[in-house]
């Protein structure tokens, strides 16, 4: 068995139980630093699983990956620039619809995403029935049910993480269609973006979408090329 280090980025909405999952994964082996260039707290920890050393990086809790707040930019840049082996999005199962907005944006970025469907107990107590298989199929990404407050599902999550890094599990992702008119403009911009040096780290389609969102960080980056 290979003994390589796997880097996992932990993302999720505020109040999705992200901190609890982080604690379950890393126990006491954590340390706190700062994100480069800014003074936002950065938590990191380690765990060992099936002979793999897994580094877990806790991203700021965000609802979206636009450029409106510093936390959002940090979360997004980490996934794009540092290319963690796996990004885990903690999703509150009792609030599925709203929480998926973030997951969809990670999938648009072509991140290696695992969805940890947390707070299954709360969802069940409200009588919600979630078809996990179908959710996983439609999003093109593995989904694991969890109850982090009772430390349930942690091992299953780690198995998926390892499975993705060994190539046993594939993330196919989604291609959201933004409607005929928007797609036409995306196609134009995508072509221009693919010749820009930013296309080395960002997918041209994603760059085109961000340009249409008038994303100030991406525009700044393009101006700097």
């Amino acid at each position: 068995m290979s003994k390589k280090q796997i880097t996992v980025a932990l993302a999720g909405n505020p109040n999705s139980g992200k901190t609890t999952v982080f604690n379950n994964l890393t126990g006491a082996r954590q340390h706190v630093g700062n994100w480069p260039g800014v003074t936002v707290e950065k938590k990191e920890g380690f765990c060992n699983f099936q002979g793999n050393r897994i580094r877990v990086v806790d991203l700021p809790g965000v609802y979206s990956l636009t450029a409106y707040s510093l936390d959002e930019v940090i979360a997004r840049d980490y996934v794009v620039d540092e290319k963690p082996d796996v990004a885990v999005d903690i999703v509150d199962a009792s609030n599925l619809e709203r929480n998926l907005y973030l997951a969809v944006q990670f999938l648009e970025m072509k991140a290696n995403l695992v969805i940890a469907l947390n707070m299954m107990d709360v969802a069940e107590s409200r009588g919600y029935q979630i078809d996990i298989k179908e959710l996983s199929r439609l999003l093109g990404t593995p989904v694991v049910p969890m109850v982090a407050s009772k430390n349930q599902g942690t091992e299953d999550l780690l198995e998926l993480v390892v499975g993705i890094t060994t190539g046993n599990i594939q993330v196919s992702g989604i291609n959201i269609q933004y409607g005929h008119d928007v797609e036409e403009e995306i196609a134009k911009l995508e072509k221009l973006a693919s010749s820009n040096s930013l296309a080395e780290s960002y997918s041209p389609r994603w760059l085109a979408v961000k340009l249409l969102e008038d994303d100030r960080e991406i525009i700044k980056k393009i101006r700097q090329t």
Binding site: N15, I130, I132, E185, E213
Partner: protein, 437 residues
């Protein structure tokens, strides 16, 4: 230049889409994502036909009530301070008894100067600060509970309408509430405020929220001068801070930093019962700063105060500054010295008094000595407490303000306006109060 070509093409696309749809492309893209998700949800999620009203909904109906929301918020805040004071009192008494014993033990050390340094300087000064640590820890327990249960977000929601009226957003209120704990993390939390004008004004007024380090000063003076009304007097400090915060935020927004305030939805997470471990961990994380500061910064400050006092320099420094505060009733050199050292850390004010009055320890605690030695009346003590509440934020807070505003101008502005505000309010309280008492 291909990069300018891209930007130009983007602007053309945006114009085109705006013409065709009358909506920003950003909205169209967000709509497409929501459309995708709601389609997905129909396939994968089955909800019961009639949704049960959750416990969160039931509690929120009361807590977020249009008329009861703000009174409930104030009542909870008042409860927090009562809890802090009632529970900490016996613990503080034990600590004081221990410190008295220790001071008696060490005052005999020879040579005499060393005995004085240890007993008066270190035990008197650092000990005075340490004895109030239980208050700070209990305050942090209470704030953790408010935050971890989800109540803090409700408080922000309840205050949202009022905040809009002063030109800020409810989200600013979360930052301001965190200022009750410590200004440093509060100022840092302002990053969640999207609108840069909102954020700047929020940072500027956060120091007016009474932080944990100011509490020992209130506790010391309230116990000495307002025996029967301690809780109320301390609560009034917090209330004065909030009222002035509202006034100044409104003023800054109107006169100096105008512009639309941001509009977005306030998030209301479901209520959670926080685990004991989480609350204690949060308390420790925040309280540790005070404990370690007592051993480092406060220790250094009291040794310096003791040295300057021993060589008769301190009084000269104090006398040079003191006349400025005569209009507010506390024109004594000792209180001027305390104010100077309070800029290092607010609890150093207690440390300074502890060192300066260590020789005169009595059974009533050294708080009452301040009254006799300085000739203070309860009115002067109250004016001094408002000065502590309002004047210059401590160096750590100023560092955070500099970091977050990335501007020396705004940092120095904060120093200047808080000092002026503290002086004006303390003077007003003393002068107007003197007319009636």
């Amino acid at each position: 230049m291909d990069k300018l070509e891209i930007i130009r093409a983007k602007d053309e696309s945006l114009d085109h889409l705006r013409k065709v749809h009358g909506d920003d492309a950003e909205t169209l893209i967000a709509d497409a994502r929501y459309g995708f998700i709601s389609g997905l949800i129909k396939d994968v999620l089955k909800k019961p036909a009639v949704e049960k009203e959750t416990t969160t909904d039931k509690i929120d109906r009361l807590i977020l009530n249009r008329w009861l929301g703000i009174p409930i918020f104030l009542a909870i805040l008042y409860g927090v301070f009562q809890f802090t004071f009632v529970v900490s009192e016996p613990i503080i008494n034990w600590i004081n008894a221990g410190l008295d014993w220790l001071a008696g033990l060490t005052s005999g050390i020879s040579p005499a100067w060393l005995g004085s340094l240890v007993a008066d300087g270190i035990i008197g000064g650092v000990g005075a600060v340490l004895s109030f640590i239980p208050i700070i820890f209990l305050l942090y327990i209470a704030l953790s509970i408010l935050e971890d249960t989800g109540y803090l977000s409700r408080a922000a929601f309840v205050m949202d309408r009022l905040m809009h009226r002063i030109g800020l957003h409810g989200r600013s209120f979360v930052t301001l509430m965190l200022g009750f704990g410590c200004t440093v993390p509060a100022v840092m939390s302002s990053r969640t405020i999207e609108n840069p004008h909102d954020r700047l004004v929020t940072i500027l007024v956060t120091p007016l929220m009474s932080c944990g380090a100011k509490l020992p000063v209130y506790a010391l003076l309230a116990a000495a001068f307002f025996t029967a009304y301690q809780g109320l007097v301390v609560f009034s400090m917090y209330a004065i801070g909030v009222v002035l915060m509202i006034l100044l935020a409104w003023l800054f927004r109107k006169k100096m930093i105008p512009g639309e305030s941001g509009h977005f939805v306030m998030e209301l997470p479901p209520y959670r019962l926080p685990t004991v471990i989480t609350v204690l961990a949060h308390m420790w994380e925040r309280g540790w700063a005070f404990l370690s500061r007592a051993g480092t910064l406060i220790f250094g400050a009291v040794v310096l105060i003791w040295l300057l006092n021993y060589f008769d320099i301190l009084e000269h420094i104090g006398r040079a500054i003191a006349p400025v505060f005569a209009t507010a009733g506390f024109g004594q050199w000792q209180s001027a010295v305390a104010l100077v050292f309070g800029v290092l850390a607010k609890e150093a004010v207690v440390g300074a008094f502890g060192t300066l009055f260590a020789g005169a320890e009595t059974a009533g605690g050294f708080g009452s000595i301040i009254g006799t030695q300085l000739g203070w009346t309860p009115l002067v003590a109250f004016a001094f407490m408002t000065m502590i509440l309002l004047y210059i934020p401590c160096v750590a807070a100023l560092g955070a303000i500099k970091k977050e505003t990335v501007s020396w101008k705004w940092t120095l502005f904060t120093v200047a306006y808080t000092l002026a505000l503290g002086w004006v309010v303390a003077t007003l309280i003393y002068q107007v109060g003197s007319l009636f008492i």
